[in-house]
């Protein structure tokens, strides 16, 4: 497991941030260590660190060079980074409703054709998955999920779309995603969720955290409309279930 990974590398990202890189590929062990380092830095803060950004395979550590230099920070970070990650004890688990196909999932039919199966089968495989929020990035609340069924791995669209709707549920490469805001995307659109992973005046503003677990369940398009109104009014709509 973790022992198979090489030691993390410290890559300067300018003079005020350092990338602690655990892997160059998407790797769940690496992601586990990214999240563990992130958690460790919250538990025992290093003076001078201003913000951390976990990704699939690296932790970007923003810091103030007026408080700590690159070398001194590296000396403090590395011993924590090489620790084997503790086993995950409790992750929050979300059940996310999805209206698949039709206007909400305009690529569902094409994905089914490309994979030589039926739309219902694609829905079953996608909703049957158990996912982890590996990272959040690009735009507010865009949750990148690991754990996509291998049979659904497919390359991204040749021509990315300039705009895809808020709430889009899509797959691309080995990844699945929950998109919150309208954004450009080259992924395949399977459906749409009424859940807002980011909503400014709601508490919490952000629904998901890196490390959370996610499953999906299908809803019809009429239910989507109802839940969408409730979500617009500030309800979470997503169900939190015991881990």
């Amino acid at each position: 497991m973790a022992a198979t990974l090489p030691p993390p590398r410290l890559l300067p990202s300018g003079d005020s941030a350092v990338t602690v890189e655990f892997s160059r590929t998407i790797d769940d062990d690496a992601n586990q260590r990214v999240l563990a380092l992130d958690k460790a830095l919250v538990a025992s803060p290093i003076d001078g660190i201003t913000e951390t950004v976990p990704t699939y395979r690296s932790l970007l550590v923003h810091y103030d060079p007026g408080k700590i230099g690159f070398d001194a920070l590296g000396e403090k970070l590395l011993p924590i980074a090489i620790q084997p990650p503790p086993p995950v004890t409790k992750a929050r688990r979300w059940r996310i409703p999805v209206a698949y196909g039709g206007e909400h999932g305009i690529d569902l039919e094409d994905v089914a054709k490309a994979l030589n199966t039926t739309p219902d089968d694609i829905i079953a495989r996608h909703a049957g998955g158990d996912y982890k929020v590996a990272m959040i990035g690009f735009t507010p609340g865009w949750s990148y999920l690991s754990g996509l069924d291998k049979s659904l791995h497919m390359s991204r669209r040749q021509n990315p779309r300039l705009l895809t709707p808020a709430g889009t549920i899509s797959i691309g490469g080995v990844q699945a995603g929950i998109q919150c805001l309208a954004a450009p995307s080259g992924w395949h659109l399977l459906g749409r969720t009424p859940v807002r992973t980011y909503q400014l005046h709601r508490n919490p503003t952000f629904l998901t955290e890196p490390g959370d677990r996610v499953t999906f369940f299908a809803i019809d398009h009429k239910t989507f409309e109802e839940l969408d109104r409730a979500a617009e009014a500030g309800e979470l709509v997503a169900e939190q279930v015991a881990a």
Partner: protein
């Protein structure tokens, strides 16, 4: 309370401050002023905190009118013609607009962004401690979008404080300094050298999210896709077509292209102020030098109040101002008898 009304304004103008920090882990963009030193100078002139919210004015002209009382403002950043009722206003100085008076700003002459700070600051709803506008995410306050004619700010009535000018540190010139990495090992030595030894221009399609660089195509060693990785202000990523993009304040928090280099903190504002079409170069520096410059840059912002001078100690040199404008040069109108050509980066 007074009001400051936007009488006219071009595109790419918005409210910006020191940026929105603490939620990059949720994909929330930092945003904030493209040129922090100029933001800080404008704010310092009217007694605001250095990174308080101000109006970031894009390359086009703008005009602001005081209503319901006097409003004290200050301008710094990309030089432009500025006047109140025909009387010129120098860059890097404050001016009080009487009720009904309008401050008119021309196009930027060299540079891109000028900052208009308002005494007492701009009020609005803070999100993660910031009013900074990110138009794509619909974030920012009081207007979560680029400013338009007719927008207005409720502001403090002018205090009657004497007008000030500020003597900014000597502008840095020469190449834009970078640190190689974090993915410089995705490029061979020849392509790193090509990046560092070539002349670059910023494309006209650039914006607050990224500056597209025109020059030779940079080739990757292993292809242009990497697994998404965090970004910082000044990250220079190289997409598939080989044309680098310098990520600026509205950047996404993560990206999937290799980043060959990162602009040092002290030079991000200089890059931001480089006009489209102006040729410039990059230069690699050491971590020690970059961090030293970052500390000096922070110190320069902290020490701005020491650089304030009373405006009435010099007379405006209208003739020099006029000559310079005809010749298309920037002029320091508060230093009587002297004028300077806009620094080329």
């Amino acid at each position: 309370m007074s009001r400051l009304v936007v009488a006219s304004i071009g595109p790419a103008s918005s409210v910006q401050d020191g940026g929105r920090h603490g939620a990059q882990r949720y994909g929330l963009t930092v945003s904030g002023a493209m040129d922090r030193l100029s933001l800080a100078a404008a704010n310092t002139l009217v007694g605001n905190a250095p990174l308080a919210a101000a109006v970031e004015i894009g390359p086009f002209g703008a005009a602001f009118t005081a209503r319901d009382g006097a409003v004290r403002v200050a301008i710094s950043g990309a030089p432009r013609n500025a006047d109140v009722a025909g009387s010129p206003v120098a860059m890097d100085s404050s001016v009080t607009l009487k009720d009904g008076e309008t401050l008119t700003l021309g196009f930027a002459r060299g540079g891109a962004f000028t900052y208009l700070a308002i005494e007492g600051g701009i009020t609005g709803e803070l999100v993660f401690g910031s009013l900074a506008v990110n138009a794509r995410a619909g974030l920012g306050s009081p207007y979560p979008r680029p400013l338009q004619a007719g927008d207005e700010f409720s502001v403090d009535a002018a205090s009657g404080a004497p007008e000030m000018r500020i003597e900014l540190p000597k502008p840095v010139s020469g190449p834009i300094r970078v640190l190689l990495g974090p993915q410089d090992d995705e490029f061979d030595d020849a392509n790193k050298a090509l990046f560092l030894n070539s002349e670059w221009k910023i494309s006209a399609t650039s914006d607050r999210m990224g500056y597209r660089l025109q020059g030779p195509a940079i080739k990757h060693l292993y292809g242009h896709n990497i697994v998404s990785d965090g970004t910082v202000n000044g990250s220079i990523q190289v997409p598939g077509n080989g044309a680098p993009i310098a990520l600026m304040m509205d950047r996404g928090t993560s990206g999937g292209y290799p980043k060959i280099a990162t602009v040092i903190t002290a030079d991000v504002g200089r890059l931001a102020q480089t006009s489209a079409g102006t040729a410039f170069r990059f230069k690699a520096v050491s971590m020690a030098e970059a961090q030293d410059e970052a500390r000096k840059f922070a110190q320069a912002i902290r020490s701005l109040p020491d650089r304030l001078r009373s405006s009435d100690t010099v007379a405006l040199n209208i003739e020099a101002l006029s000559d310079a404008n005809v010749a298309g040069h920037a002029v320091n109108a508060v230093d009587a008898g002297t004028w300077q050509v806009t620094a080329e980066p």
